[in-house]
Subunit: 495 residues, 2 copies
């Protein structure tokens, strides 16, 4: 087994401000439990020895021992001979995330319900299948009709594309992992936005990268709806956009990263969109430095009411594009793609073979059918996202008036400011209320973002309303939330 272990120092960093209102050992156990549940401490990671952690945290060894004992009772820790205490997800009776979580409302995933006419598409794909059974079926690059459909859609959106520039993958995550493996050497730096999509930085790390962060400054819609005049909002948005691009350019110049992972449209989790001017600046700096920009555009077309229409990022300079249908059609359809120049596509083919032998054909046929009707799909999603956004804004204002909800103009989530660094505590309390949701720090790599909570706007209205009610109950259960001094810097980044 790979030995993953966490030093006392690293755990201290992850724990952040862990002390709650209960006893120290309970608070410590609770916080570690959240880190495991949340994936910030991967299962099978060895925790630091009791003495080391006690020294680091400045508590007694008895406190740490009691916390570990509590975690063992909860089945979140098990003792492995020679390996000390190892993190786990509660096992018996079920090891399966799906089964385990089935009684919960799951808002840890920002994923829309399946497309209503998905079964029709599946039937059409089944009917198309006989025309594609002539060879061995192993298809690491993608069937031509699908690559052509993807290329045509890029062209429609303003980026002429040939099918030779497309590789079909098993979802966007697979695409991100392949590009990471193709581009990165061990120890290379990878630039990420902070906050960002956690599975992306995990893929970069898995390919050996050292991560470098650059802050995202959300400005879509410029703050809570109606809170600012249109003129002031637009000016603030412009400033934020420039500040963010300047930081990215500086990081590229100073850190010389091999790759930069960016989400230019409706960024997950902040919802912000990067201006075309900023895209061009960042792409230019990256090209000069030899940094490969990987632009994740899986949610780029999920526009609600954005003022401007944006072409794919590669229209503004050299960029590798990632796409998928997981957020438009359904997460259970596992098809994504990479748009890159031909030499990189060649290299991706070489990198892919040891990990998998190709994308399923039936799945590809279904997506080829779906892309033909993408405008209808997007029209439906726009309606749903509009309703979801309105509901979240209205219900938070009613139930949780102290929270700040940035008004997003597209995408699948909103990045709510809680006004206090209690996201992890809130998420634990929400579990008691039957809601699974991800704490803010999961979207960073160093324990930051405790003042934020990502709330999906893409789930059904019924589920979203139930989730908000559960959050309100959880919030109340925290009682006298220690608001402390607001951190102006962190608060600024929500507006």
């Amino acid at each position: 087994m790979v030995d993953r272990s966490l030093s006392a120092r690293s755990l201290e960093l992850l724990l952040g401000d862990w002390r709650g209102r209960g006893s120290a050992y309970e608070s410590l156990a609770d916080r570690i439990r959240l880190l495991v549940v949340d994936g910030r401490i991967p299962v099978e990671t060895r925790l630091p020895a009791e003495r080391d952690l006690a020294d680091r945290l400045g508590v007694s060894r008895t406190t740490v021992a009691a916390a570990y004992r509590r975690l063992r009772e909860l089945d979140h820790l098990h003792s492995v001979r020679g390996s000390g205490s190892v993190a786990r997800l509660p096992g018996a009776p079920a090891i399966l995330p799906a089964a385990f979580e089935s009684e919960y409302l799951d808002f840890s995933k920002a994923a829309p319900p399946a497309l209503p006419w998905l079964s029709d598409l599946a039937r059409e794909a089944a009917a198309d299948l006989p025309g594609h059974l002539g060879d061995s079926g192993y298809d690491p690059i993608g069937i031509l009709p699908l690559r052509q459909a993807i290329a045509d859609r890029y062209a429609q959106r303003g980026l002429p594309t040939s099918p030779d520039q497309i590789m079909v993958t098993i979802g966007a995550q697979h695409a991100i992992a392949l590009v990471s493996r193709a581009v990165l050497g061990r120890g290379d730096r990878a630039l990420i936005e902070m906050p960002t999509y956690p599975h992306a930085y995990e893929a970069l790390r898995g390919a050996g990268a050292r991560l470098v962060g650059s802050p995202v400054v959300p400005h879509a819609g410029a703050g809570p709806k109606g809170a600012t005049g249109a003129g002031a909002g637009a000016a603030a948005a412009l400033d934020a956009d420039r500040e963010e691009a300047a930081s990215l350019v500086q990081s590229i110049r100073h850190s010389n990263p091999a790759i930069a992972y960016l989400m230019p449209d409706f960024q997950n989790p902040t919802g912000r969109t990067m201006s075309r001017e900023s895209r061009a600046r960042v792409l230019d700096a990256a090209a000069r430095q030899g940094t490969v920009v990987m632009a994740d555009e899986t949610i780029a077309e999920l526009d609600i009411d954005r003022a401007e229409t944006f072409p794919p990022m590669a229209a503004d300079g050299p960029a590798v594009l990632i796409g998928s249908v997981g957020k438009t059609i359904w997460g259970g359809i596992r098809v994504g793609w990479i748009r890159a120049d031909r030499p990189l596509i060649r290299r991706l083919l070489a990198v892919r073979a040891p990990g998998d032998l190709g994308t399923p054909i039936l799945e590809q046929l279904l997506v080829a059918r779906a892309i033909e009707r993408m405008d209808d799909v997007l029209a439906l999603r726009r309606e749903q996202l509009l309703a979801g956004r309105e509901l979240v804004e209205r219900r938070v204002a009613e139930l949780l008036p102290e929270w700040q909800v940035p008004h997003v103009d597209g995408g699948i989530v909103t990045w709510i400011g809680l006004g206090a660094p209690v996201s992890s505590q809130l998420v634990l309390a929400a579990r008691q209320e039957g809601l699974i949701i991800t704490a803010g720090p999961r979207f960073g790599v160093d324990g930051a973002f405790e003042r934020f909570l990502r709330v999906p706007i893409c789930q059904s209205l019924e589920a979203t309303d139930a989730a908000l009610q559960a959050l309100a109950r959880a919030w109340r259960s925290l009682g006298g939330v220690p608001l402390g001094e607001p951190d102006p810097e962190l608060l600024a980044s929500v507006v």
Copy 2:
């Protein structure tokens, strides 16, 4: 970009006995070309500097320069500033393996044609889909109906199994890569059979393993059909089986590998089956040493007329099992699975997330339907494989009487002895005849197996006959093949 480079010494090893009848530079270029086409030199690998290679091979620098120039003309090498000469597959006009190879008969893949009633299964799966659209669709473990069906089939075959012991993957290769990543740490040793399935050792290497080989001693059917009496054949088979198990046990004890990748039934490429006694010995040694045995059983049920029925390998001791439907249903259906104990399944879930977010649901529904009818599938495949085996044995006897065809009793390939170390030359000549087939050395890691050629018996009879005719023409084109002295050790391993 990752810098992959090949030292002059490594290239010398891969080249083996490269001198042909033409000029030295042509022979050298030809041989390097084959290594690239065959995947033994991955694309984007930097070749050694001309001077280094010339020194190593004891030829003039002019010879190496001419060979590299020739490879450049053929588009198999390109010059990258600062990186010297880098291997590639001919690019213009097509980068796509499928399109590029479409005019060729492809016997590099041992994959049967699609199941005739596959489109029916796809329609049934489409009809099942509405019952599975209730959640986000991200499914890293597998839907319960499929895991139940897989578990039930193991039970039918003599190995009681719970669905909790199954993880569904995107094909067997994905399963092998996941287990490799879950079990191996960088620099750990991995034991493989020699020869073995190339993509498996690539996955092990990709997870950081150092490879250790143990010889496979084929004995299924004990030599060419009818060539030996049943008694002598059976005795020889018994000896070979024991010898092989002894070697595996010794390798486990001496090399202390973290993992051992074995194919106990109808091994690819040799076709041999390991006896139950040998399985138990090897599993016992592995358990004592703490070596995880990964048994690839993707072709284990493709029995033609094996005398004995074998349960899954885990019936004889602790083993992680790999299964898939790529060799029974079709390679274009990308569903495989891992059978392991619950702690390893948990660990696999943690390892999987950075690389992909789950197996497509529609694909899983199709396979759940297919497994219900697996007995019908296997009956059909048995007929096809029997006919394929008969055809290969008969036509080789007619067209290429100097070749030795071991009589396999199941599986998808036969490992033909050529009588001379000319497999790479033959494969290059076969390309001229419109046939793509893989040279023997691809199934090893050190340039051995030049006397062998893997010939699939699972393709259509028309294609198989055409492939054998192409091989016969290629063989004749080699003309006075230098048979040299037969190597008794190598020849023994075919019988």
